[in-house]
């Protein structure tokens, strides 16, 4: 028994076509324009906040490269009077390309009264 499609089915079809077509168009665009540059992590430190007995500093990692990084380790050092007094470390399992991930490191000393905080990316690997 053959039956024609009703308005609901045509509506679902059109929505489906838009989604599938949009997906393919977006992927093709991405495939044609995306670079192949390795992960490029930029670390931005936020304003330290006091917590019970310690201080936390927000850490934002932005991957400006075209590939995902896995297990990126970030080190933050607290310097006062020219000497590195304390260090903290944290790890980001995945930072997809052009994505940002957030976390915190904690210090015993007050980073606000210290000379400066320095963050660096220790390393990461290809997923």
């Amino acid at each position: 028994m053959k039956q024609k499609k009703n308005w609901l089915e045509w509506t679902v079809f059109v929505i489906g076509l838009i989604l599938v077509g949009g997906t393919l168009a977006y992927l093709s665009y991405d495939a044609l324009t995306a670079g192949k540059a390795p992960p490029n992590l930029q670390v931005v430190l936020g304003k330290p906040e006091p917590r019970a007995g310690h201080f936390i500093v927000p850490v934002t990692v932005i991957n400006r490269g075209d590939q995902t990084s896995e297990d990126a380790r970030i080190e933050v050092r607290l310097y006062d009077q020219g000497a590195g007094l304390e260090r903290a470390e944290l790890e980001f399992p995945f930072v997809p390309r052009h994505a940002r991930r957030e976390g915190w490191v904690s210090f015993q000393m007050n980073p606000a009264t210290a000379e400066h905080l320095q963050a660096r990316v220790l390393g990461y690997r290809k997923p």
Binding site: M1, K2, Q3, K4, K5, N6, W7, L8, E9, V12, F13, I15, G16, L17, I18, L19, V20, T23, L24, Y26, L27, S28, D30, A31, A34, T68, F94, P96, R97, H98, A99, R100, P127
Partner: protein, 284 residues
């Protein structure tokens, strides 16, 4: 030629949603599949979408709900199912906090696509198989009549292969992205891998030719040993092909020795075999 009542279409969509979730929820809850969403290259994703579309076309052609469907209708149905898959996957991932607007579009799109394709196959199977009464999908008479002059041995055989491949993908997709496959494959002596391959074939042979499984009479031609060996070899070849393509897609072969790749294919092949034998019989 009257239009189908809207209520009937709604029932079909409801079955599709149920089927989509039934078959792909394990994948939606698997972290490696989310990760693949942002680690896969756009080229690989395109291949993945087109491959799934081809599977949907094949499935809808040979086992779909409307047995008298023309190719145009099959294409329309497949697009609908893929759209539903994208909507369901997107909605679920959003609900599970796996995607959010703060993420780059590439990450959102990747995750949704990975999950949506599995959901779409589930939608297709659900629409066609989960319905009660009047569908007549299990009726061999309609099978023969709609195929018209195509209903030759070659045609039936092609259809069986397509459905076996769909079954293999549907069942193995839930395991393919997991780390466990490579963990098992690297920790196994080659003899065990060989044993697993033989076990898969024996399992497939029992399901297809011995256990009186539902619908098994369709693949059973004469029952002589040559036919059984022929059928089992083809079934296992399809299962291995499905395994290898999924593992390749999930980037499980990169930088590994050939033996590890083959072992992984065989390890995942157990799931594909069940899909290509028992799954195939249930899906048509």
């Amino acid at each position: 030629m009257a239009a189908r009542p809207v209520s009937k279409s709604c029932q079909e969509y409801a079955r599709g949603v149920a089927g989509g979730l039934l078959f792909s929820l394990p994948l939606l809850y698997t972290m490696e599949s989310w990760w693949t969403g942002f680690t896969a290259s756009p080229e690989a994703l395109i291949v993945y979408v087109l491959g799934t579309f081809a599977l949907l076309l094949g499935y809808n052609r040979y086992a779909g709900i409307r047995e008298d469907a023309t190719w145009a209708e099959v294409v329309i149905d497949s697009v609908e199912e893929m759209g539903l898959g994208i909507l369901i996957a997107g909605g679920f991932l959003w609900l599970l906090e796996r995607i959010s607007l703060a993420m780059p579009l590439a990450e959102i799109a990747g995750k949704v696509i990975i999950e949506a394709m599995a959901v779409a196959i589930g939608v297709s199977v659900g629409t066609a198989q989960l319905g009660g009464g009047e569908q007549g999908t299990n009726n061999p008479d309609t099978q023969d009549h709609w195929a018209g002059e195509d209903s030759s041995e070659e045609y039936r055989f092609g259809g069986q292969m397509v459905i076996a491949f769909c079954g293999a993908v549907l069942f193995a997709a839930n395991i393919a992205p997991t780390e466990e496959v490579v963990m098992i494959a690297t920790g196994m002596p080659t003899w065990n891998v060989l044993g697993l391959a033989l076990l898969s074939m024996i399992l497939g042979a029992f399901i297809l030719y011995y256990s009186n499984f539902i619908g098994a009479d369709r693949v059973m031609i004469s029952g002589d040993v040559i036919d059984i060996i022929f059928g089992v070899v083809i079934m296992y070849a399809i299962a291995l092909l499905a395994s290898a393509s999924m593992l390749w897609f999930f980037d499980r072969f990169e930088g590994l020795a050939l033996i590890t790749c083959v072992s992984q294919t065989v390890v995942l092949g157990v799931a594909s075999t069940l899909g290509a034998s028992a799954g195939r019989l249930l899906l048509q």
